[in-house]
C-alpha cells in the first residue's frame, strides 16, 4: 500500500515536471534535486540552476540558508547536496553520518570597502588592516595610514569599523586572512563565521554592511566581492604576500588559486603565494556523500546529482560565474574536481564514467 502511494506520488510529480519544463531533449529523466547552503555564491548558483533547468528539464531548487544550514540539511539527509564557504574540518567531517566530499565551484573574494569623501584610491598594508580592525587606528589621518598612502589627502575623520552581524562565510574568509597576517589577531579574535569583534558596528548581510558604510563618512568594512563588483562600491587595494598592493578583480582573485592545491581541495586561498593574487580570496564548495545509495535514494537521483555537479565545474557554467562577478576555477582545479566526482559511488560503483 505504501509503495502504491509512493508510485502514485512519483507519477504525479513526474507528470507535473514534464508539463512545466516544456522544451529540452532529455524529458524522460525528469528528477527534482534539492540543495541548500551558502549565500555567498547564491547569485552564481541561481543563474547556473536557471540555465541548467531550462536546458535539461531537471528541476533543481537551491535554498540560500547559510553554510551552517547547508551542512545541517546534508546531515539530516533532506537535500541531495549542500553548499558551504568554509570547508569542514576533519573533526566536523567525522561528525557527519557518512563520508563526504568537497567540490569547489568558483572563487570569491572579500573586499575592503570604505567611505571617505574625496579619497578614491586607498592602499592598505597588512599592518594597517590589523590596526584598524583591532581598533588601534581610530582616525583616518593616522601617520601609519599616511605612510602607505603618500600623496593622498586623508581627512581628519573618525574610523568606524563595520562588520557582519550575521554568521557568514565572508567573515570566515576575512578572519582567516587576518589571522594569517597578524598573530595578535589570531590570539585575540581568531577565525570563524562570527567573531567577538573588538570594535565596530554590525550590519546584516552584504547589503547591510554596504549600506552602513555608504551612509557613514569614515566607515570601513568588508563585503563579498560579487556584491561590491555588482554594486560598483569603491574598494581598497590590499597588500598581498609579495608586498604588492592589489586591486581585487576577477583576474587577481583567480590568481589566488594558482598555487599548490591539496587533492581534496580543502584549502583556504587567503595569502596566496602568487605575486599577482588578491590575498583575501577563497573557494566555495558543494558537499555531498561519497556513497550516494542512502535512505533509499534511487540511482537516477544520484546520477542526476552528479550530472549537475559535473556540469557546474566545466566551462559553460564557469562562464556564468564570471557574468555574476565570481572568478572561475583554474583548469588545474577543475581537473582535481573531476577526479573527486569520479570517486563518488552508488552501491560501491562509480557514477561518473
Amino acid at each position: 500500500m505504501k509503495n502504491l502511494i509512493g508510485i502514485l506520488a512519483l507519477a504525479v510529480l513526474l507528470s507535473s515536471c514534464g508539463n512545466s519544463s516544456g522544451g529540452g531533449d532529455k524529458k524522460s529523466k525528469n528528477v527534482s534535486l534539492t540543495a541548500a547552503g551558502a549565500t555567498f555564491p547564491l547569485p552564481f548558483y541561481n543563474l547556473a540552476i536557471k540555465n541548467y533547468s531550462s536546458n535539461t528539464g531537471t528541476l533543481l531548487t537551491y535554498g540560500g540558508v547559510g553554510s551552517g544550514g547547508g551542512i545541517r540539511s546534508l546531515t539530516d539527509k533532506v537535500v541531495d547536496f549542500g553548499a558551504t564557504d568554509a570547508f569542514l574540518s576533519d573533526d566536523k567531517e567525522a561528525e557527519m553520518p557518512a563520508e563526504i566530499v568537497h567540490i569547489p565551484t568558483c572563487i570569491g573574494a572579500v573586499v575592503i570597502a570604505y567611505s571617505l569623501p574625496g579619497v578614491e584610491d586607498l592602499n592598505l598594508s597588512n599592518e594597517n588592516l590589523q590596526d584598524i580592525f583591532l581598533g588601534r587606528i581610530t582616525n583616518w589621518n593616522d601617520s601609519k595610514l599616511k605612510e602607505t598612502n603618500p600623496g593622498i589627502e586623508l581627512p581628519d575623520l573618525a574610523v568606524t569599523v563595520v562588520h557582519r552581524s550575521d554568521g557568514s562565510g565572508t567573515t570566515y574568509i576575512f578572519s582567516d586572512f587576518m589571522s594569517k597576517i597578524s598573530s595578535e589577531w589570531e590570539r585575540v579574535v581568531g577565525r570563524g563565521k562570527s567573531l567577538k569583534w573588538p570594535v565596530g558596528l554590525g550590519g546584516k548581510g552584504n547589503p547591510g554592511v554596504a549600506g552602513t558604510i555608504k551612509q557613514t563618512a569614515g566607515a570601513i568594512g568588508y563585503i563579498g566581492s560579487e556584491f561590491a563588483f555588482a554594486q560598483k562600491i569603491p574598494v581598497a587595494q590590499v597588500e598581498n604576500s609579495a608586498g604588492k598592493y592589489v586591486t581585487p578583480s576577477l583576474e587577481s582573485i583567480s590568481a589566488a588559486a594558482q598555487g599548490e592545491i591539496p587533492v581534496d581541495t580543502k584549502v583556504m586561498l587567503t595569502c596566496s603565494s602568487d605575486p599577482d593574487a588578491y590575498p583575501i580570496s577563497g573557494f566555495t564548495w558543494l558537499i555531498l556523500y561519497k556513497e550516494q545509495a542512502y535512505d533509499g535514494r534511487s540511482k537516477v537521483q544520484a546520477e542526476e546529482t552528479l550530472k549537475f555537479l559535473s556540469w557546474i565545474i566545466e566551462k559553460d557554467a564557469q562562464a556564468l560565474a564570471q557574468q555574476v562577478n565570481y572568478a572561475p576555477l583554474p583548469e588545474k582545479t577543475v581537473a582535481q574536481a573531476r577526479k573527486i566526482l569520479g570517486s563518488v559511488v552508488f552501491d560501491g560503483q562509480p557514477i561518473v564514467q
Partner: protein, 281 residues
Amino acid sequence: MNPTKTVLVLASVVVVLITAGMMYSLTSGAIPVFKEFGLRFIVSSEWNPTEGREDYGALPFIVGTVLTSVIAIILCFPLAFSTSLFIGEYYRGTRMASITGTMVDMLAGIPSIVYGLWGFYVLRPMIVAFGWSAQGFSIFTAGVVLAIMIIPYATSITTEIIKMVSNDLKEAAYSLGATRREVIFSVIIPNARSGIFTSYILAFGRALGETMAVTMLIGNSNIVPKGIFQSGNTMASVIANQFGEADGLKLSALVAIGLLLFVITGIINGIGKLIIKKYSV
C-alpha cells in the same frame, strides 16, 4: 457532549498544547548551553562564538532588550495616552477623532522593515546631526522607532477602555461641578486604570520581541552598552542575525536566549496581572 462544547474544548486544548510544546522544545534545545555554563549564561557579558574559544553569556542582549523596550515605553506613554484621551474623551465621536484614530491604527499595519528603513535613512542622520552619537546606531535610536511602533497598540486599547467608563459616573461628577480635567483625573483614569495598564503591558511585550527594525538601527555590537547612545544588541535581534550559520553549542545558546525572552515576557505579563488585580475596581 454537545458539538459547540467539543469544538471549544478541542481548540483550547490545541492552544495549550502549542504553548507547552514550544516551552518543551525551547527548554530541551537550551539544555546543552546551561549544562556548559550554568547560570553564568544569564549573568556573563562574554559572547565569543569563535570555534575553540566558545563562551556564551546573554547579558548584553538582556540589557539591550530591556533598555530599548523601557525607552520605547517611556517615549510612547505621553504620546499614546494623550492621543487616547483626544480620541476617547475630548473629541469623542467627531470627524477629527475618527481620522486620528484611523491614522494611529495605520501605524500598526506598517511592516517592521519599513520602520527600519525609515529609521535608517531619516531618524539615524538626525541623531548624528544632534551629535548624540557619531554613527547614529544606538540603543536610543532603536528605542525611538520601537516607541512609534507600539503607539497604536497602547492607543487603541486605552481609547476603548476610556470610552467604556460609564457616562452616569461622568455626568454625576459634572453635576457636582467638576471641571473636565477633574473628571479625567478623578473619574476616568481611576476607573480605567487596570485596562490602561494592560494596554501598556501589551505594548511593552511587543517592544521586547521586535526584531527587524531593531537589527537595522541598534548597531549589532554584542557587548553590554555603556550608555543609551552606544550600540548594542537585543535578544530577538541576535537570534535573527546568527541563527543561519549556527550549530552545536552556539545554536543551543540562541535557543536559550529564545527561552529567556519567553520567560521575561512571562514575568512581565505576570507582574502586569498582579498589578491589575490589586488596582482593579
